[in-house]
Chain length 539, copies 2
């Protein structure tokens, strides 16, 4: 099987993305994860351009990568100094990376107008930079910036840049579609032309997504002889992003018969994709091919019925191949068959026409009309199902509460206090707590009141808190934005699992209360279920 | 110039998206907007499948579309009834749409396993359905579901489905890659094969994005003879979405020399894309090619310098061609050149090395470290610049405030009250207001206190309110989710413009206060600037 080298530049070109800002610690975690995925190269940064990247390479010297080689990126040397006196090249050598990647100009107009040097001088920069670095690198790559645009304007000069790099010791020439404006058939034709003129060269492709064609362009290049593909996880990168390696790896391995990752590693793809988003503090793009949360999600009633019979009817691959999974959504397009399918997941075998199914369907539709969203809040849904079935009890009642945020003197941090009155069984608990903001204060007061009855709440942590304004309501409400209905999603966890609950109200405090109460009830319900299962087993 | 018909199915196939839920009113607004953009066809829904779509078509009978034709979608008739007794086909006729699009099976295994009928019977369904509808439709299209998968398994049967549709009156045959698993070279080869076997047929393409190739596949089909492209705005659709018409239209018109929209309408693309997202209450995908907020955004210092000299160095097209615009980001990669560029936009001509530039750079970096995000809050940034310059004054001081949320009896709606003490000039204003939730109450109290000093605040409205939890802080904070730092963005507007302000704190109330204060100060600052300009003109 032919192997294609995957060259990941999430940590360098990816961070040019508007949204992607990574600390050195973030970069180390991502590098480790990419190594576990099994990419061939990890481009860690541009040590000559900023101290953060320099620190990253220093730290990486203590890491032993298992599959990947670490690459450092830099430009050809500055025109006014020689290669051996160029700080940027010296920083590359200092980086300790075994792979060095040098980018240079190949588009004539960039040489004369941006660098303001002669075409001949640019060839010298390429030659001297690579020759100087050659002894210091296990592998030396040349990134031909703007190659396709340059080739279209002045093919001979673009080729002579490549030829110079090759003669000066480059192991591989990477053709870059820097502005992302090239079409797949142009990529194919130019790849063919380059191979004709430089038959001995090994070629790579570096594509950007400005025409939504970066994946297609990368695959076209592979079909026309590229042995390396550069890109980023989730397609992060400046403007519209770099070529998305998640899609490229899956397409090459599952559709085109190439090998990119070590045997069996493809199923780590979805987890890696989500991990990078999480570390970067970016919400995952749900519709992302292969690895997205929606990639194998079915909503329409007709499709759900067909997919339940045979997943291949509306799924092009088995989601497990890339570590993803099938999801069936609850929504207003959902019919009874979705409800039955979901109920089965929670262990209830129900029949169509069961009055319980109809009651649940009505309750769900009402709540979805109000803005509840159960596809992202499975714990609230599970509680709802069990309540309608009469199988889940309320572990406490919140009789009254008051939350106060005060600033007494201009410029002071607010003081926040919550009081809650709870009934647990026949007992009344009345307590108060301060907190960092109103939701945190309520959370602290609730736990303080409940932990003496339910010590297992001590294991539980709130992990994430999301607020969404339901804009639909803004439009209809004369009071404007701040009176809009908000949906709060709270993610909680203990040592064993994580769950998400939902609340909806025009008042963020009230919406948070609903989600907090569900979260606590779910923890207690789940622990009770476990005890029950345990007890039954012991009989 | 060759024309390609754009067939928009945002309102039908798009709503199969996990995230896209549209009311009838939403659908009417989007249809009007798509007509203004100038697509050839708007597929409004499946009137036989749900009452909401039926209502949409009834309403649409009162609209006069200027460019687009309205299409209604449905399936071939049910196997157990005849065409003239099929409720789904009758609903199509009732819809009043001038274009009817019928989908049917073309993959043999779907016929025998899903429909559970013979291959011959399926051909009858296609034939009878189309023949029955033919007299009722100005144009009649046949959507060949799973065509490419079907062709790969049983080419003869797939072709005979197409041939039957053609013979029964279909004006156009749409080849669907329903599961989105097909590669561009397969699309090309199969398009060629179909044209050889059915040379008289007009063909269309309907692609899905499961391999991140929907745009490439649509373009490949056009290159191989398709005259119609089906897709959705922003690529909405089930799983990974449909082919994104925004990218397809721009690529066809700007890169491939086809005409898709009326002359001059391409520049409406970005606005249409944002409008659909807004009505659907979905956040825009920033990195979306052509129409995304990041599509022509520059962050890296090197790129910014080059782009300021010549935009084409890092932009594949002029953003204005699709109604988008260039943005220069403030970020930790930004150097002085970005600050100078931004300052110029606000009318300050500053020099590199100006102590003001350095002060502003320091202030910005500090605030970005805390989580302030000025790329989405230009009004807060403009205020900051003017404050550092000593050109913006504070129109009021909030000396103290208190916000109280109370529920006295279980199950009651919370009662929210805000008190504020303000100093305006030498006067003290102490007042209180109730509101729908804490932020709304504070907003009401602030306006109540300020409107007697600044009556022009009466024109101002809060339009949107966004809360983002900065997850970075969640990880570092032992208290967990609800104590995380939050960033609040508030969008406000008056009759003339809209502006966005930002606040950051671990307390959502405090973050909202900052954004509200900025928003009010910005309105007053802007109106003062206008008066000043007016006064100068009158001298």
């Amino acid at each position: 099987m032919n192997t294609i080298q995957i060259y990941d530049t999430t940590l360098r070109d990816g961070t040019q993305s508007e949204e992607l800002n990574l600390s050195t610690e973030d970069k180390l975690r991502i590098a480790t994860k990419l190594d576990q995925l099994g990419v061939a190269y990890i481009e860690g940064g541009w040590p000559g351009s900023n101290p953060k990247d320099k620190r990253f390479f220093a730290e990486m010297q203590q890491y032993q990568l298992s599959t990947a080689r670490l690459a450092a990126f830099g430009s050809t040397h500055a025109a006014k100094v020689s290669a051996e006196n160029d700080a940027n090249l010296l920083a590359l050598i200092d980086s300790g990376a075994s792979v060095l990647t040098i980018f240079g100009k190949t588009w004539d107009i960039h040489v004369t107008d941006a660098l303001k040097i002669t075409l001949e001088r640019n060839l010298e920069l390429i030659r001297d930079s690579l020759a100087f670095l050659r002894p210091h690198a296990k592998e030396l790559f040349y990134d031909a910036e703007h190659f396709f645009d340059g080739y279209k304007k002045n093919a001979d000069y673009a080729i002579s840049c490549l030829g110079t790099a090759l003669d000066s010791g480059a192991d591989l020439l990477v053709l870059c579609d820097t502005n992302g404006g090239t079409l797949p058939e142009e990529i194919a034709a130019i790849m063919d032309a380059v191979r004709t003129r430089l038959p001995e060269a090994r070629l790579g492709i570096h594509a950007h997504n400005d025409c939504e064609l970066a994946v297609a362009n990368s695959l076209a290049a592979v079909r026309h002889g590229a042995v390396q593909v550069q890109g980023t996880m989730n397609g992060y990168g400046e403007r519209c992003g770099n070529a998305n390696l998640c899609s490229i790896i899956a397409n090459l391995e599952l559709k085109m018969g190439y090998s990119c990752l070590p045997e069996g590693h493809l199923e780590r793809l979805t987890d890696t994709s989500a991990f990078v988003a999480e570390v970067a503090n970016l919400r995952c793009f749900k519709r992302q091919p292969y690895t997205g949360q929606s990639a194998f999600t079915h909503k329409g009633g007709v499709h759900v019925a067909a997919v339940r019979r045979n997943p291949r009817t509306y799924e092009h691959i088995e989601p497990e191949l890339v570590g993803n999974k099938q999801r069936i959504l609850l929504s207003d397009l959902a019919g009874q068959s979705n409800i039955l399918f979901k109920a089965k997941q929670y262990g209830f075998e129900l029949d169509k026409g069961d009055p319980f199914v109809l009651e649940l369907l009505t309750e769900l539709k009402n709540r979805e009309d109000q803005g509840y969203e159960y596809s992202a809040a499975e714990a609230s849904y599970e509680l709802l199902v069990n309540r309608v079935l009469g199988r889940a009890r309320n572990y406490f009642r919140l009789i009254s509460f008051r939350i106060m945020d005060s600033v007494f003197t201009e410029g002071m941090e607010p003081f926040t206090e919550a009081t809650v009155m709870l009934r647990v069984g026949g007992m009344i608990e009345h307590t108060a707590a301060t907190g960092k903001g109103p939701v945190n204060a309520m959370d602290c007061a609730l736990r303080k009141g409940l932990e003496r009855f339910y010590p297992n709440l001590g294991e539980m942590r709130l992990l994430d808190f999301k607020v969404r304004v339901l804009t639909g309501s803004v439009r209809e409400d004369g009071h404007g934005g701040t009176a809009a209905v908000v949906r709060v999603l709270i993610e909680s966890g203990d040592q064993k699992s994580r769950w998400t609950t939902v609340g909806v109200s025009y008042n963020i405090i009230e919406a948070s209360r609903q989600a907090l109460e569900d979260s606590i009830n779910y923890k207690l319900f789940k622990d009770d279920q476990k005890k029950l299962t345990q007890a039954i087993r012991e009989i």
